[in-house]
């Protein structure tokens, strides 16, 4: 019983990590690091909640989350790609800004409610027959729609990135943008569109926490998990399937810490259980040698420079 609960929870918690890390893989493959990822997750969580609460429709909530993500991403993209400013600087500014903005706009919409506002979180969708498989059935096939989407886009993301001309272009942009330029492709456009895609995904991932899981919004709902998705891109070697694996591992760590906490096992202090995913990231980062760093990661492409 504990095992099934743990597995179910693990898969659930890995969903936003999958979506976020796939987004980051795509962005970094073109040479862009989405440093604003934590802020975009947060804005997505906000957008998802506000959309769902005001309209009563989960779908609209998710849509708003993605839209908010795209807006934030376009600001980030504008500063880093068009204005060629530094990604860490701009991303940090957006993260600080997003934290204040999300809370402020929550206040604008809802004032100061006596009790925290809630929505019914995304209901799980059982897949008939499959969900009756012993041991794993309930865990794998009784999840909400976002989880199923996440599991579908990972292999799809892999296929697009490695088996299509579009993917070739993306990967080449992060390796040698001059070569891509000389092939007649607009490097800035490729990067900007990828950033928009990635930030839409990040918004969606953030919304998972508010409307897919908890059913409410607080300012620390993301708690650094945007950064974990960021790290998973590195750890997964910039490969969607590697990211899938990484997301599952971290989802498991997250779930394990919650399960242990609620089980009343008192030997290890709660705080350390909460810290497991982060410690795991540190260990994994040390262990991993950066094989496939896209060669120009983080560098703005300056075209007419002698």
């Amino acid at each position: 019983m504990i095992w099934t609960g743990l597995l179910a929870r693990a898969i659930q918690m890995s969903t936003p990590l999958m979506i976020g890390s796939l987004a980051e893989v795509y962005a970094e493959r073109t040479g862009m690091m989405i440093i604003a990822i934590e802020g975009i997750f947060l804005l997505g969580a906000w957008g998802g909640f506000v959309g769902a609460y005001l309209s009563g429709s989960m779908f609209l909530g998710l849509l708003l989350a993605m839209a908010v993500g795209v807006m934030a991403g376009s600001v980030y993209g504008f500063f880093t790609i068009k204005l060629k400013q530094h990604q860490i600087v701009t991303g940090t500014a957006i993260n600080i800004f997003a934290a204040g903005l999300a809370l402020y706009l929550y206040r604008v919409f809802f004032g100061v409610p006596l009790l925290p506002l809630t929505v019914e979180p995304l209901a799980p969708l059982s897949i008939p027959v499959l969900c009756d498989i012993p041991l794993i059935g309930q865990a794998l096939f009784n999840q909400n729609i976002l989880t199923y989407i996440a599991f579908l886009i990972m292999p799809a993301g892999y296929w697009v990135l490695f088996k299509t001309p579009l993917g070739l272009t993306l990967r080449s942009t992060g390796e040698n943008p001059e070569a891509v330029d000389s092939a007649g492709i607009n490097v800035e456009k490729v990067r900007f569109l990828t950033v928009l895609f990635a930030s839409a995904m990040d918004g969606l991932a953030g919304a998972f926490y508010s409307i897919g899981f908890l059913g409410l919004y607080t300012n620390d709902i993301i708690g650094g998990r945007g950064w974990i998705a960021f790290a998973i891109c590195f750890l997964g070697n910039w490969n969607p399937m590697g990211a899938l694996l990484g997301a599952l591992v971290f989802g498991l760590a997250d779930a394990a810490s919650i399960v242990i906490q609620t089980s009343g096992f008192r030997l290890i202090p709660n705080e350390f259980l909460i810290a497991i995913p982060y410690i795991l990231t540190i260990v994994a980062t040390i262990a991993r040698k950066q094989f496939n760093v896209p060669a120009v990661l983080g560098v703005p492409y300056v075209k007419e420079r002698k």
Partner: protein, 376 residues
């Protein structure tokens, strides 16, 4: 090629953009504009809540300078920001990204409050010295860990320092819930520390303590180290061209560790400032953005100690102003984060404009020169 550093393109681009802006006189005008624009944009956000921004700012200014308390508070708030700003900025000079200032700050807080609580019997001067040293050691060690992983494993210091903050948070929360918890046992916080562990006040009847002077001193030390010592020379060389530094016989691994040690110590010291200087205790969830704000301040200050001090004072003013706005109206405190964010974005925009103007000017110079005979 001998381990050609993949970070070199970023380094040289950075070196061109940010560090080469030093020495320009206009340097002061642009931040002022950015602040004004940032405030204006925040003002528009206030409209959303139905407040008239002009009235809000008017009230703010009338309150701000009414007495010394608020003015002094600006510098009190600036003190730890100078340090977290230096933390990021110092590491940035070596093109290292210490994102873990928040965590190093927490460790400094824990160390300072621990010493203050356990060693309360020491005379004030020694007690303060112990707390100060403990906070720097704790922060420095926490930072040095990141530097070590970079030196030994070539791990991404960005990720590791980022994650180390969350681990530090866990440690601090654990301490607050357990070993360091107040006697009353009600809340996750410590008791108030003894009077002799309080940093003496600089200006009476305000919160401004001698820590501010200490912070200025540290900024001076940072300047001296970077530009007047062999170590600083190596740090800057590694930051501007890691390859050339390697070819010049500079041990970059040692530089990584030393830089993170110093950087972490700065952030840890900020913990001492806040615990012994302002809060006089340690509470869960306090100053959660001081690390990120330090990053913003370092960027605004061009990673230069003088710029950092001025930017920290600016942020201090934003905070005090923001708090006043919150107190004198029903605008929520999140407006402060919004103001800071807007100011940062406008400053980044101003960097772009500055570069554009310099470029256009040099193009014009060329055209007006007699044709031909140009040197590159």
């Amino acid at each position: 090629m001998a381990q050609k550093d993949k970070q070199t393109p970023v380094d040289s681009y950075l070196g061109e953009k940010i560090k080469s802006r030093e020495g320009s006189f206009y340097m002061f005008l642009w931040p002022v504009f950015s602040v004004l624009l940032g405030l204006a944009a925040s003002g528009m956000m206030m409209l959303l809540l139905g407040h008239n921004p002009f009235l809000v700012f008017l009230k703010l200014f009338s309150f701000a300078f009414r007495d010394m308390y608020n003015v002094a508070d600006i510098f009190a708030k600036a003190a730890p920001l100078i340090l977290t700003g230096l933390a990021f900025g110092f590491a940035f000079r070596a093109t290292l990204f210490n994102i873990g200032g928040q965590g190093q700050f927490y460790m400094g807080c824990v160390a300072a409050v621990f010493c203050a609580l356990k060693l309360y019997f020491l005379p004030s001067f020694f007690l303060l010295l112990v707390c100060l040293s403990a906070s720097m050691l704790a922060g420095g060690a926490w930072g040095a860990f990141v530097g070590y992983t970079k030196a030994r494993f070539n791990a991404s210091e960005f990720l590791i320092s980022m994650m180390s903050t969350y681990v530090a948070l866990a440690i601090m929360n654990y301490m607050l819930r357990g070993p360091l918890k107040e006697i009353k046992g009600e809340y996750p916080q410590t008791d108030v520390i003894a009077q002799n562990a309080w940093i003496p006040t600089l200006v009476p009847h305000t919160r401004l303590h001698w820590g501010f002077v200490l912070a200025l001193g540290i900024a001076l030390v940072a300047y001296f180290v970077l530009w007047k010592t062999s170590l600083g020379f190596k740090i800057r060389a590694v930051g501007m061209n890691r390859n050339a530094a390697r070819y010049a016989g500079i041990d970059e691994k040692r530089v990584f560790i030393v830089v993170f040690l110093i950087s972490g110590a700065f952030a840890g010291l900020a913990g001492f400032m806040e615990v012994n200087g302002i809060q006089h205790m340690l509470v869960q969830g306090f100053n959660p953005m001081i690390g990120a704000e330090g990053i913003g301040i370092a960027i605004l200050g061009n990673a230069h100690p003088l710029g950092i001090v001025l930017s920290a004072i600016l942020f201090g003013a934003l905070k005090v102003g923001g708090n006043l706005v919150v107190q004198t109206s029903t605008i929520p405190s999140s407006i402060i984060g919004i103001m800071e964010g807007f100011v940062m974005l406008f400053v980044i925009l101003s960097y772009f404009l500055q570069d554009k103007i310099t470029t256009r000017r040099s193009k014009k110079e060329l055209r007006s020169k007699e044709k031909g005979g140009v040197s590159r």
